[in-house]
């Protein structure tokens, strides 16, 4: 008797046998776990394991098909986001959800304005309240400031402020550090710790294991919509055992062999490239069959530099030599049709894919020349053949090539992006953040794919903020900081030594 009393008091949130069925898909299958008061409870699992669906159920966006949610030991129906907020559940979803035309105060106190339609809005009171909430998380902003001009890290903090503004006891954070810089991520982690001290329970989703080990108290692993075993205190886990639980088999980040390119020919050379935005000249060489890594923090100017090379934002001065001849890339169209350079954007959903179209149409649109008949009409048979070829070569997992790209996991979407790049039969491929938001297992597949392409003679530039990925995969690393190339390192494929060298170059 005493024991059960203690138990129900101890847990702030209890999930019992939560099942969610979407038309045709069982996203969650009898998931159960409990969250204690004042703990950081990490929820880990591969992409598509069902973590975000779970967050959406706890925050009232979706209604579970089966199962119960209990808050403070009491059963509760969370069928609208509003109800969840009133029940003390604050949420920061994976995508940014701020009202851009509103001020900081209004965004933080948005729940005071939403809900019922009648009633007045007291802006001064909202500013005062927003200030208080921001103090709690050490965020120093003018409540009257518009949110448009803030950095993504600050915006993320505003979302957290909004989530705790209703005196939330439970805070759900879905990949909060995915798109913010390292310093901002550290501030965020500090904030999470502080909120835990205040007694708030936090459910924390992240793909970054080091974050999990630095802040979580306990971990629940979700795989294929089911929870794998009971919740485990963080002390009982190591990197390897956690990854093993997530993917179901033992796997570590594979390091490929060291290769020697001293004899290889230079396929592309940039000499003192500058643009209107970036006045610091940048130079580098890329050799045939080589994988060149561009490391740097978010905002270090890597993507911008890539866009200058491929002509999206053409460079202002400097020389670009391709196969030893001077090249003038004035548009991306020229980059891939004339100079055989292709670029795979870090922004899959917006810049890489037509989400509502099928896989075949996504591939076909970039290979129009190949799939058009002599009369100038599109041959769907040719399109299907071409897509099937890539599906097989790249190991794209899907029911058929006619399904919408939107329905696929991040990893498979990334493979389609690469397939689209390959359609232009490039000599040089620039891949921007190839595995961002992609689970551990598919990450390995993508690395293997990139490596195989380089073995076939393609030269590849991999832009990545994931140091482990670069050290395992690439042959040479350029380190970027503040729009400048700070150093060039031969990759020894030894993580400990390389990471120290890279950090040394950045902090120099």
């Amino acid at each position: 008797m005493e024991k059960t009393m203690a138990k129900s008091e101890e847990y702030v949130l209890e999930l019992e046998n939560i099942t969610k069925i979407f038309p045709g898909v069982k996203a969650l299958d009898h998931v159960s776990f409990q969250v204690k008061k004042g703990e950081v409870h990490a929820l880990v699992g591969e992409n598509g394991a069902g973590k975000s669906t779970l967050i959406n159920i706890i925050s009232g966006v979706f209604r579970q098909t089966e199962g119960q949610v209990k808050i403070d030991g009491k059963m509760i129906e969370l069928d609208t986001p509003e109800k969840a907020f009133q029940a003390g559940v604050g949420v920061v979803h994976q995508e940014r959800n701020l009202i851009d035309t509103f001020t900081v105060a209004e965004n933080i106190c948005f729940m005071e304005e939403s809900g019922k339609l009648s009633g007045k809005v007291d802006y001064k009171a909202m500013c005062a309240k927003a200030k208080k909430v921001m103090e709690r998380i050490h965020l120093d902003l003018d409540p009257d400031e518009p949110v448009t001009s803030l950095t993504s890290g600050k915006k993320q903090m505003i979302e957290i402020a909004r989530a705790i503004s209703m005196n939330s006891q439970i805070l759900l954070l879905d990949e909060p550090t995915a798109s913010i810089s390292l310093t901002e991520a550290n501030t965020l982690l500090e904030t999470v710790k502080k909120l835990r001290e205040e007694g708030i329970s936090i459910i924390y989703i992240s793909h970054k294991l080091e974050e999990i080990f630095s802040i979580a108290d306990s971990v629940t692993v979700i795989r294929d919509g089911k929870n794998i075993g009971e919740t485990v205190p963080i002390g009982e886990l190591t990197n390897e055992t956690l990854i093993e639980k997530m993917v179901g088999r033992k796997q570590s980040v594979k390091a490929y062999d060291k290769r020697d390119f001293s004899e290889a020919s230079v396929i592309m050379e940039a000499r003192n490239i500058t643009s209107r935005q970036n006045k610091i000249p940048k130079s580098f060489q890329l050799k045939k069959g080589e994988i060149l890594g561009w490391y740097g923090l978010v905002g270090a100017g890597r993507t911008e530099f890539a866009r200058e090379i491929i002509g999206i934002d053409p460079a202002e001065s400097g020389e670009l030599l391709i196969h030893g001849k001077e090249a003038r890339v004035r548009s991306y169209e020229e980059a891939f049709s004339r100079y055989q350079i292709c670029y795979v954007s870090e922004n899959r959903k917006e810049e890489g894919l037509f989400l509502m179209h099928s896989i075949a149409d996504n591939v076909g649109i970039i290979a129009l020349k190949e799939i058009t008949s002599k009369a100038g009409f599109i041959s769907y048979r040719k399109q299907a053949d071409l897509t099937e070829k890539y599906k097989k070569e790249l190991g794209i997992k899907c029911k058929s090539i006619q399904v919408d790209v939107a329905s696929l996991s991040g990893g498979n979407q990334q493979k389609i992006c690469i397939a689209k790049g390959l359609c232009t039969s490039p000599d040089i491929m620039i891949i921007d953040e190839p595995t961002v938001g992609i689970d551990v297992r598919t990450k390995g597949d993508i690395h293997e794919l990139i490596y195989q392409l380089s073995q076939q003679g393609m030269s590849i530039i991999v832009i990545s903020s994931d140091m482990g990925e670069l050290v395992g995969l690439v042959d040479r690393i350029l380190v970027f900081r503040d729009n400048e190339i700070r150093g060039e390192l031969e990759n020894e494929k030894d993580y400990d030594a390389m990471s120290k060298q890279i950090m040394g170059t950045i902090l120099l």
Partner: protein, 325 residues
């Protein structure tokens, strides 16, 4: 020195360029005609201005939450014809007839809002739905009035529209002022106003944080349609008959007035008093064309060009603004 800073502030004001354009237009007209700035002309302008402003505010509400309403004219026409018909054929009390006209607006708004929500929310959905309801409403106008309109409107009803305070300020000016103040207050101070703006700026985020799409679409469409009816009723008060073509030429102007006045085209940001300025520009253009004896057929062409120019300038401003950052 102080003066210069004051002037700089003035030029940074959102509607500075529109105000300058208005003043220039008035000066040019005064120069050409010699008697443009007069009380008589002022009260004539006020009446046209009233209609442009109210339909502009109506459209602004739809734009503010990310949609549009091409049925404003048809709604106004239907309200006007039904009110006139009740007074003419059924000897209905003018006050009740007025309320009936407004009620028609509410019904039209509810229908639009409900259907827009059903087929997906904003943007193209609102265009398609209101395009369809336009034909329904316009056709009802023809059915009710046997295709001929209602030739005479009750004289006391007409009197409301033709009363002038202090000899030059028409009654419609007060309607307009009331509408502007109320709508300004709604957007500034009420939950429903803020929710409309939030929904217009980011529908997904708004929904995730407790804004109900159906409620917002219904509110916006009902308020907007009430204003459309009001415009229709004001028009028949003034001209004294309810023609079947009332509202046919409102659509473009209803978009032009708020856009000239600084309302964000994509939703989420409004400038209520800016609509008045936009309406003044439209009124002055139509008035100038009349003064200069230009064929009325040119009116729409000029309006179209004005909208394109305004949108072009807007684009230019946002581009140069970004470069400065």
């Amino acid at each position: 020195m102080n003066n210069r800073i004051g002037f700089k502030k003035l030029t940074k004001m959102e509607n500075f360029s529109v105000i300058v354009i208005i003043m220039l237009m008035i000066l040019v007209m005064q120069f050409i005609t010699g008697n443009y700035i007069s009380l008589d002309n002022f009260s004539v302008l006020c009446k046209t201005l009233a209609i442009y402003t109210i339909i502009g505010v109506s459209q602004m509400i739809n734009i503010s939450c990310g949609g549009m309403n091409v049925s404003i004219g048809a709604t106004g026409g239907l309200s006007a014809v039904i009110a006139a018909w009740l007074m003419y054929s059924h000897n209905c009390n003018i006050f009740l007839a007025f309320l009936a006209g407004v009620a028609v607006g509410i019904l039209c708004g509810l229908l639009n809002g409900y259907l827009i929500n059903r087929i997906g929310g904003v943007g193209v959905a609102s265009f398609l739905i209101t395009l369809a309801t336009t034909s329904i409403f316009s056709s009802l106008v023809l059915i009710i009035s046997n295709g001929r309109g209602i030739a005479t409107v009750n004289s006391s009803f007409r009197a409301i529209g033709n009363t002038k305070l202090f000899g030059f300020l028409p009654s419609s000016a007060f309607f307009v002022l009331a509408v502007l103040i109320i709508i300004y207050w709604v957007y500034k101070k009420t939950r429903v106003g803020r929710q409309m703006l939030a929904f217009g700026a980011n529908p997904k985020a708004a929904k995730l944080y407790g804004v109900d799409q159906l409620k917002i679409l219904l509110s916006a469409n009902v308020i907007a349609s009430i204003l459309a009816s009001l415009a229709g009723l004001l028009l028949i008060m003034r001209v004294g008959s309810a023609q079947v073509d009332i509202g046919n030429d409102w659509m473009l102007s209803s978009f032009a007035a708020p856009l000239i006045g600084g309302t964000r085209q994509a939703g989420g940001k409004v400038n209520v008093f800016g609509v008045l300025l936009g309406a003044i520009v439209l009124t002055l253009i139509s008035n100038a064309l009349v003064f200069m004896g230009v064929d009325a057929y040119w009116q729409e062409l000029v309006n179209g060009v004005v909208i394109l120019v305004i949108m072009g300038l807007d684009q230019l401003r946002s581009v140069t603004g970004r470069n400065k950052e």
